[in-house]
């Protein structure tokens, strides 16, 4: 196991290097120039002024030189300063990443609370009214856009149930848990509900597959109680692919909760990222991409390791 983990960690290095290179090149290929954006109204900076700005931000050097310099800083976890705000990118990420991780974790929790029971019931009561209802529910949750649901819920709260209006400003969980949960609960529900549709359908299909396996039939023949068969034998096996699906949701949530963050004024990574993209703020875009890439590779490793916990037959050597 130890050797496996070390091998996987070593394999992450070329993966992450590849990501850094692609991100670095792609950002610079996007039409528009950050110098135009910071060069003042009407892009009216003179050629000399533009040259001075490029020099100040190191953009006058060739791409390989810029890349190597950036990588040498990044390797030391120095993400530099935002070209636009002048603030340290690392400080911003330090504040924003926990917020997004909290929202993502809550969303996954919500999605599991909805998806697993409904998916399992739907599978064990296949083609029953409960199954049809559960599947319709799943499709419904998949179909409702989060931004729409979020907007409607806020608008309705403002009009009809003011207690449901989220706090005006975000407060960290450690500072004020109640206020924090009051703000995070609804967006987490919206994100989680959106995810739950897919997870539920996946849970249902894997459960159906497992329930048809010989060992389940054997267990039934041995006279084991249905609950034991479901929990000990069916669910444990059915959940392995579900874990993969859930594991893949985390990086999607980390980079993709931007709309719900906008709607609920949550100071997470998504808002920071969108602003940076709009402003061509290279250091910020690069740092966030690296961070999301790290979340992806480490989550994948975590999911793979979790397999061996869920299924003792899986051994890494």
């Amino acid at each position: 196991m130890q050797r496996y983990i070390i091998r996987r960690l070593l394999l992450m290095i070329p993966t992450l290097l590849g990501v850094t290179f692609v991100v670095f090149i792609l950002i610079r290929s996007v039409p528009g120039d950050v110098i135009d954006l910071i060069g003042g109204a009407f892009g009216a900076a003179t050629p000399e002024q533009r040259a001075a700005l490029k020099e100040e931000f190191g953009l006058d050097q060739n791409i390989p030189t810029q890349y190597v310099k950036w990588m040498s800083h990044t390797a030391r976890l120095d993400f530099g300063k935002s070209i636009v705000s002048g603030r340290a990118v690392g400080d911003e990420l330090k504040n924003r990443l926990p917020v997004t991780l909290e929202l993502s974790a809550l969303a996954i929790l919500v999605s599991l609370c909805i998806a697993l029971p409904v998916g399992i019931i739907s599978a064990i009561r296949q083609d029953s009214a409960a199954d049809y209802l559960g599947r319709s529910f799943a499709i419904g949750l998949l179909a409702i856009p989060g931004f729409w649901l979020g907007t409607i819920l806020i608008a309705m709260a403002g009009r009809y149930f003011t207690w449901g209006v989220p706090p005006t400003q975000y407060v960290g969980f450690a500072d004020d848990p109640i206020r924090n949960i009051k703000l995070m609960a609804v967006p987490a529900f919206i994100l989680g509900a959106g995810l739950s549709g897919g997870v539920m359908r996946f849970t249902r299909s894997t459960m159906l597959e497992v329930l048809r396996q010989d060992y389940i039939r054997t267990a039934q023949a041995k006279g084991l109680r249905e609950r034991v068969i479901l929990v000990r034998h069916a669910m444990r096996n059915a959940l392995i692919p579900v874990v993969t699906v859930i594991g893949l949701q985390l990086p999607i949530l980390v980079g993709g909760s931007v709309i719900i963050e906008q709607v609920y004024s949550i100071p997470g990574m998504g808002r920071y990222y969108i602003a940076a993209v709009n402003q061509h703020d290279y250091p910020v875009i690069q740092a966030i991409n690296i961070l999301v890439a790290c979340v992806v590779v480490f989550t994948n490793l975590g999911v793979d390791l979790l397999y061996s916990v869920l299924d003792p037959r899986i051994r890494y050597g």
């Binding site: 039409p31 900076a45 705000s85 403002g158 005006t168 004024s265 100071p267 920071y272």
Partner: protein, 591 residues
């Protein structure tokens, strides 16, 4: 009420008791006219204008009927839609950066917002300046700093007096290419600092809007020289304005405390301002409905609902100083650059009343008994009433017909110009920056162009990467573009759209008549004569229609205040991005 205040300030002006009535109109005629603290009878040249309640030690008492019963204390809860790209006033050209800066940083001049002062009557009055003198030739402005001006009592500045070293540092930031501000003051030849309280601006030519430029929150904020290494202005704001920077939590809030040492004694009335960062409109409205926000911007669509739902809500409508325009590429081969009738025909095909109703619900609101304006933008915005010429007025002359919706005549004109019906034109605009009203009007233009017989290919451009740097800033595009013109605090900026070489001459127009008129207005120090020149500019342009003014920005924009907020008829200052210096220090909460 307005008349009362007008009489009040005029009386005070004549008694030479106040600081700040700005007599641009008289400056040229009076030779070395005194602007600011009148100390002799030449002060009679000063026009009334100061509405800021007190102005330091020399000021007369605050008008009792407005502020006598003011309740002090409390926190003003407001919002902004996003993070300012930088909190350094020269760190970014964004309006959010500038609006934020006006809480903390002073300018040499500001606008005279006050009870009963209409937007049309706003004019520059001293802020950090005590007085301003202009030379007989209009080329040199000498400005004296007020003696009681101190920076905030925050390390490393610790409440020291403001002096010209600070102005020197701040001016170096203005001229720094990174600030992007230098392009707004091309008329200034140089700045000198004869002593610790005097600054002299030497102009290249006389410039009538000089004091407006100093009042403009896009231009000259005074920072302490310690910002040059003593503290980081990207993370901390230290100025001499009404509000002391308390904290900034990215994407959460900006917090300010009142500056007890502000030279406008006794103000701000509230103890603090708490600006929540709330990007989403539905959330803003919900927070307002629940009372978490004291004020909010309300779209015309929601106005009646909010009026009915929020008990005691105070609604305030104002037309902004924004014009939206259709502008054209500068390719000499383009047919519209060969035959002016094509632009005129397009303008006649624009149903301006229809667009205003689409964007601002004029019919619905009028039917509900709400007074709304439905004026048409000229090349100077309908909201800039002092200089705006109503396109419907007889004064527009021949150009009036180009504003009037007449599709039949427009088609005939287009046909006469030899327009080929198979020609496809790219129609471009940015749909990800200005909001629903702008976008709806932008889409309606397409239908109107098509109805005229112009085939269009729509290109929606990303604002940051394409529209602003290429289409708008540099005029690098082909076809027709639609966008807002940059808002300017006074009319000269709009008229510069015709000036060869001007940064906002998007279509690279060169017209001898308009250039001549612009040059004349720039150096005309008599207010009435200058107004007449702007009228001539609008008449001349109306006939030619180089840019087609359209209706985004022309309708009434609405602000709601909760019933406990006492705003005293002091509202936002268009040239000052809301007026954190001019407006909110004089509001209070009754609960």
């Amino acid at each position: 009420m307005a008349e009362y205040w007008d009489r009040y300030w005029r009386t005070r002006s004549n008694r030479r008791r106040f600081l700040g009535g700005v007599g641009v109109a008289s400056a040229g005629a009076a030779g070395l006219a005194l602007v600011g603290c009148g100390d002799d009878d030449s002060g009679g040249n000063n026009l009334s204008g100061l509405a800021t309640p007190t102005s330091g030690a020399n000021a007369t008492p605050t008008p009792v009927d407005v502020f006598a019963n003011a309740k002090r204390g409390g926190t003003f809860n407001t919002f902004t839609t996003g993070d300012a790209p930088s909190i350094d006033p020269y760190g970014n050209g964004s309006f959010q950066t500038k609006a934020l800066a006006s809480y903390t940083y002073s300018r040499l001049f500001k606008y005279n917002a006050g009870p009963g002062v209409k937007v049309a009557d706003l004019k520059p009055v001293p802020d950090l300046a005590e007085k301003a003198e202009v030379s007989a030739d209009g080329m040199t402005w000498t400005i004296t700093l007020r003696k009681d001006a101190k920076f905030h009592n925050v390390a490393p500045v610790n409440g020291r007096a403001v002096n010209t070293d600070d102005l020197k540092y701040s001016w170096s930031r203005v001229m720094d290419p990174k600030s992007g501000v230098a392009t707004r003051v091309p008329f200034i030849d140089g700045v000198s600092y004869p002593d610790a309280s005097t600054v002299v601006f030497k102009l290249k030519t006389p410039y009538a809007a000089f004091l407006d430029a100093l009042s403009d929150t896009n231009v000259f904020f005074i920072m302490p020289k310690e910002a040059d290494g003593g503290f980081d202005p990207a993370t901390k704001m230290i100025g001499s304005g009404p509000w002391i920077f308390d904290s900034y939590t990215p994407s959460v809030s900006y917090k300010f405390k009142k500056n007890p040492d502000w030279w406008v004694k006794g103000f701000p009335l509230m103890d603090a301002t708490n600006i929540s960062i709330i990007p989403q409109y539905a959330n803003q409205i919900a927070q307002f409905q629940t009372g978490n926000l004291d004020t909010v911007g309300i779209t015309a669509d929601d106005l009646i609902n909010v009026k009915n739902q929020v008990k005691g809500v105070q609604l305030y409508g104002e037309v902004s100083q924004l014009i939206s325009i259709l502008f054209f590429d500068s390719d000499p081969a383009s047919l519209w650059n060969k035959d002016p009738r094509i632009k005129q025909a397009i303008s006649m095909a624009i149903d301006r009343d229809g667009l205003t109703d689409l964007g601002y619900q004029t019919k619905k609101l009028t039917a509900a008994g709400i007074n709304v304006r439905g004026d048409w933008n000229n090349i100077i915005p309908a909201g800039l009433v002092k200089y705006w010429l109503d396109p419907k007025s007889p004064d527009m002359g021949d150009g009036a017909k180009n504003f009037k919706f007449d599709l039949t005549a427009a088609k005939a004109l287009l046909s006469a110009a030899g327009w080929n019906a198979n020609t496809e034109v790219t129609y471009q605009y940015s749909a990800n920056i200005y909001g629903a009203t702008f976008n709806a009007i932008g889409e309606a233009h397409i239908a109107m162009l098509n109805a005229l017989g112009i085939k269009t290919k729509t290109e929606t451009q990303d604002y940051a990467s394409k529209y602003k740097p290429q289409t708008f800033d540099k005029g690098n595009f082909s076809g027709i573009a639609y966008g807002y013109e940059t808002p300017f605090p006074e009319a000269g900026g709009y008229a510069a759209m015709f000036l060869p070489g001007a940064a906002n001459n998007h279509s690279k127009i060169s017209d001898a008549e308009l250039t001549d008129l612009w040059t004349k207005q720039a150096s005309e120090l008599d207010g009435e004569k200058r107004k007449a020149l702007f009228k001539q500019i609008q008449i001349a342009h109306g006939k030619k229609m180089y840019y087609i003014p359209t209706q985004a920005g022309a309708g009434t924009g609405w602000t709601g205040y909760r019933d406990w907020l006492q705003v005293n008829d002091i509202h936002t200052v268009p040239g000052s991005y809301g007026g954190a210096t001019e407006v909110t220090p004089f509001w209070w909460k009754s609960q």
